[in-house]
Subunit: 197 residues, 2 copies
DNA sequence: GTCTATACCAGGATAGAC
DNA sequence: GTCTATCCTGGTATAGAC
């Protein structure tokens, strides 16, 4: 295969994915039809089906992008000095998410979809596993640097606490998607006060 | 209107709602079609549309039932003595939910749906508001009885913390619906260790 | 690779008899 | 109130020309 063709293919997929994200962001996930994606991309049905197997395929790509960005952020912040505090990390994740998606309604719809779509569910499991691992090593570093814990103690604490932090991130996403008068700042302040430090 | 007719109407609605819940529990929410509900109920399309405006209507009823049961549980446990600890309350809610729904996949799909269905979203907002209020007064009682806090202090603490507890409940639901090898016990133990007490 | 046009299907809802 | 049969819409995916 000639290299130009491969590059072209990749960039075309990215272009379509971006268009889909814009559409999803505007109308939500279920309400967006292939016709919407076609319009938004400026391409045609045929062109899109030449690059993706179908709507499901596109969704997988979009999900990867969004969650990958979060994993990248946690990893990046893990090597920042001074290390941000746990609640501060949540705040930074939230603002990155808001920047990418506006209201993260799309993610909530993605969860709903993953319940019945095996491929999406598998992908989600994989990505959240990686996110958890990244969060876990961040937490371990935090306990070492902030409280001078031994590596073993820090790892154990991190493993226990990571599920709590993930839940808070998920709760934040859910509530900001569904509660009309959601007060993100109040939520994050509450995390600062009452999450383990 | 004659009383028998009204009673009949109510019991018929309940019968249909139960059938719908069984179907949802088995196949998930989106994958369940009206045809499935019709089969499961042993009734006909006409009969069902005589009692509900459509699928959406049925969903609203189901959602009410499920969340109402949770609210009732929190209120009931608030007057139990000795008052269960916060993490214990979560454990009891989780087991009640498992009893009603098995894997609470249906709830996650409901969230996804609520993003785009205004009626469902409004209902969800209302119900979660009530759940939050119930949880809040429970937490206040807890701080008073366990730590001898003044009413004012207990109320303030409760208001700050309630969002954290709700997030944990939501995280539990999400993860138990989507993570194949989800370990509910480990999750709850982690809550016991690291949530405020 | 991409376009237009269209086949095809699932599923929610209704009509009309009883 | 309930049944059967059927309509109709919205939406995915494909066929075939360029």
């Amino acid at each position: 295969m000639p290299k130009v063709t491969e590059e072209y293919r990749v960039s075309k997929r990215a272009e379509i994915t971006s268009a889909a994200m814009r559409a999803f962001r505007r109308k939500g996930f279920h309400a967006t039809s292939m016709a919407d994606i076609i319009t938004e991309s400026g391409l045609s049905a045929g062109a899109i089906y030449g690059h993706f197997g179908g709507k499901n395929d596109i969704v997988l790509e979009v999900a990867s992008r969004v969650i990958d960005a979060r994993i990248g952020k946690v990893e990046e912040l893990s090597s920042a000095r001074p290390l941000p505090a746990p609640a501060e990390l949540l705040r930074l994740l939230a603002s990155g998410l808001a920047h990418d998606l506006g209201r993260p309604a799309m993610l909530v719809q993605l969860w709903g979809e993953a319940v019945t779509e095996p491929a999406l569910r598998a992908l989600w499991g994989l990505l959240v596993g990686r996110l958890r691992a990244a969060y876990c090593s961040y937490l371990s570093l935090w306990h070492q640097s902030e409280h001078g814990a031994t590596v073993a103690d820090a790892d154990r604490l991190a493993a226990e606490q990571v599920v709590l932090f993930l839940s808070c991130a998920q709760g934040y996403i859910l509530q900001s998607a569904l509660v009309t008068e959601f007060d993100g700042e109040a939520f994050l302040r509450s995390m600062e006060l009452h999450l383990p430090r």
